[in-house]
Symmetry: C2
Subunit: 338 residues, 2 copies
DNA sequence: GTGAAAGCGCTAACAG
DNA sequence: CTGTTAGCGCTTTCAC
C-alpha cells in the first residue's frame, strides 16, 4: 500500500518533508545521523516516492523513449532489435531510468502518438532508429527541443547525435579479405537503395575494389531487401555472370544465396565463396559456416543510451557522433584460397 | 514549446480550466459550440496536456509495463519477443497507453527496480512473461495489488489472469499427425523440465501416444533447452534408438536435429521424419521445409494487453484465462507416408 | 543543516 | 452545462 507520502515519512522520522526529499535525492546538507534515521524509516516502511508527483515538480520523467518508425517496423522482428533493446535497457536500469517503447505500425499512429511523445513531457529524451533518409519522425525530432540520439545515421545530419556501426569499413574489410584470398570476380548482393546501411555497405564494396584498381562491374551488383528470399533471388540472377565470390549485405541474404547455390548444386566455397554481414546466430550454423561481418549491436544500444543520458545532464552540445568498428568473423564460406 | 497549460487554453477560449479539461477528456456536459471553440484553440496551439500533472491528479499513468524476468532474459533475443511486443504495442497505441519495458538481467536489478515498478505508480498494470514455475517476480506481483496478466501460465495459478497457447493440444496434434502418417517409433526432443511450455508439449506427446494405446519409451524422450545446439545433441543421442520420426518442442531444436541428420547422412523425411514447434521464419526455409506447430504469438500479446486494459477498467475479477489454439503447418519434413 | 512555503499542471468533486 | 475550489505528492527556492 503506497499510501505513504513524503509527509508521513517526515513525521515518522521527526523531520520536515524537505529533509526527507534531500535524503531520497542524495543531496548534501543533511547531517549524517539525520540522514541515517530518515533512511531507516524509509527502509522499514518500504516507502517509494510517487513518480508522477516527482515528475510534475521536477519537470523530468526519468523515462527514455525508443522510437521505431513504421518504415523500420517491418524489420522489428529481426534479431537485431532485441539486442539493441538489451543494450539500452542495461543502461536505463543502471541509471534509474525507464525505457518506453514507441512502435509505430501506421502513419496514423505516428501522427497521433508522436506529438504526444514529444510534447507531453512523457519522456526526457528519445532514441530513434532511423534507416531511410528523409525520415519524417526524425525531422520532427530535429525541429523539436527534445534531446535525442539516432541509431544509424541517414542522410546528412549536421549536429545530430547518432551511433552507427562502420558499415563502410566492415564491407571494405570483407571484400578485401576475399581479394586477399585470390577471388577475382567478386559480386555483391546489396540492400535497398534508400537505406543508409545498405548504401554504406555497397560503398565499402566499391571502395575495396577500387583500392586494388579493379573495375566495378554493374552486372555483379544486385539489390535485395535484406531478406532471405531476396538473397535467394539475387543469387540466381548473379549466377549467369559467374562470380567466384559474393559479398551479401546481410546474413539473411547470404543465407538465401546459400540456398540458391545448394539448389543449383554449386559448391561453397569451392566454386563460389560467400560472405555475409551481421553475424546472426544462424551464421555459425549454416552449412558451410558463414564468414560474416559482426556488428556490435548491443554496444550500439548501450552507447546510444549513455550518450543520451549524458546529453540530458550536460546539454546536447556538442553533438555526439559515434561510429563503432565491426569485426570480420572468418568461418568456412569464404574458403581459403591463397 | 509546451509552455502551454490548461489555464492558458482556457483563457484563450474564454472558458474555465474545467471546461477545457472536459473537452480534452471527452467528457459530457459541454455545449457542442463551446466544445468546438475549445477544440479549435487546442488544435491551433498544438497544446498537449502535461502527463505528470495528469497522472498526479488522476492517479493513473496510462503506462503498461512489460516485465521480462532475468530467467527469461536469456531467450529475449528469440524471434518470439518482437512479435509479442508488436501485439502489445498495437493495443497500447490504440488505447492511448504507453508501453514500458522492464528487462532484468540480474537478480540485483530485479531487487532494485521491481519494487519501484510496483509501488511508484509508474505503471497502471503489468504484463509479465513467466516461464519457469516458482518465479519470484510473479509471486511478488500476486502479493501486490497491481493488476497484471501473465504470458504463459506456470504452475498452478488460481485467480491469476493469463494468456497462453495450447501447447498440449499443439503437441498432440503434431504427434497424432505423425501417427496418422504411419510412423510407429516416434521420439521427442523435449524442453527443460521446469519450463511449463516444455512440460505441456511433452504431455501432448505422451497424450497422443497413449490415445492410440502406444507405450511410452523413455529412451525416445530426450531433453534439450530449446536451442539449436541442444537439438543437435539430442538427435545424436536418439539415433541409437532409431526412431522413424521425431517431434521437437521448438523449431530451433528441430533445426539442430536436421543438422545432426544431415551430418549423419540420414534422409529426412525418408528415414526419419521431423516436426517442430513455433513456426519461426526459418522453418519454411529449412531443407526440407519444416512441418511445425504455429503459435499465434502476436495475438497472445494483443490479448494480454486487451485483457489487462479491461481489468483496469472493470476490475481484476474474475480472472481472465485464455488458451489460444495452435495450428499444424504441414510442409515436407514430416513426409507423406500413407 | 533544516524547515516553511510556494508551486508544478492537472482532475474531480461540488456548487450554482 | 460551467466555474470554483481543493488538492494529488513532490521539488525547490528562500529564510533562518
Amino acid at each position: 500500500m503506497s499510501r505513504l507520502t513524503l509527509e508521513k515519512i517526515a513525521a515518522l522520522a521527526g523531520v520536515s518533508r524537505s529533509t526527507v526529499s534531500r535524503v531520497i535525492n542524495d543531496q548534501v546538507n543533511v547531517r549524517p545521523e539525520v540522514r541515517e534515521r530518515v533512511q531507516q524509516v524509509i527502509d522499514e516502511t518500504g516507502y517509494q516516492p510517487n513518480q508522477a508527483a516527482r515528475s510534475l515538480a521536477s519537470k523530468r520523467s526519468t523515462i527514455l523513449g525508443l522510437v521505431i518508425p513504421r518504415n523500420v517496423q517491418s524489420v522489428f522482428a529481426d534479431p537485431y532489435f532485441p539486442r539493441l533493446i538489451q543494450g539500452i535497457s542495461l543502461v536505463c536500469n543502471e541509471n534509474d531510468y525507464v525505457l518506453s517503447l514507441f512502435l509505430f505500425h501506421t502513419e496514423d499512429e505516428e501522427n497521433k502518438i508522436y506529438p504526444r511523445v514529444l510534447n507531453q513531457g512523457f519522456v526526457d529524451g528519445v532514441i530513434i532508429t532511423s534507416m531511410v533518409s528523409g525520415d519524417t519522425l526524425l525531422d520532427q525530432l530535429k525541429d523539436s527541443d527534445m534531446p535525442f540520439v539516432a541509431i544509424g545515421r541517414t542522410a546528412d545530419m549536421p549536429d545530430v547525435s547518432y551511433v552507427d556501426v562502420d558499415n563502410v569499413g566492415g564491407a571494405t574489410t570483407a571484400v578485401t579479405h576475399l581479394m586477399n584470398l585470390g577471388y577475382k570476380h567478386i559480386a555483391t548482393i546489396a540492400g535497398p537503395a534508400d537505406v543508409r546501411a545498405a548504401i554504406d555497405r555497397l560503398q565499402g564494396y566499391t571502395t575495396a575494389l577500387a583500392a586494388r584498381g579493379l573495375q566495378i562491374d554493374p552486372d555483379l551488383i544486385v539489390r535485395g531487401d535484406f531478406s532471405e528470399a531476396s538473397g535467394y533471388a539475387a543469387m540466381q540472377q548473379l549466377l549467369s555472370h559467374s562470380p567466384d565470390a559474393v559479398f551479401a549485405a546481410s546474413d539473411a541474404m547470404a543465407q538465401g544465396a546459400l540456398r540458391a547455390l545448394r539448389e543449383a548444386q554449386i559448391g561453397v566455397p569451392d566454386t563460389i565463396a560467400i560472405v555475409g554481414f551481421d553475424d546472426l546466430a544462424l551464421a555459425a550454423l549454416e552449412k558451410p559456416a558463414l564468414t560474416t561481418v559482426r556488428q556490435p549491436i548491443q554496444r550500439v544500444g548501450k552507447l546510444a543510451a549513455e550518450n543520451l543520458l549524458d546529453m540530458l545532464q550536460n546539454g546536447v552540445d556538442p553533438p555526439r557522433r559515434l561510429l563503432l568498428p565491426t569485426e570480420l568473423v572468418i568461418r568456412d564460406s569464404c574458403g581459403k584460397k591463397g
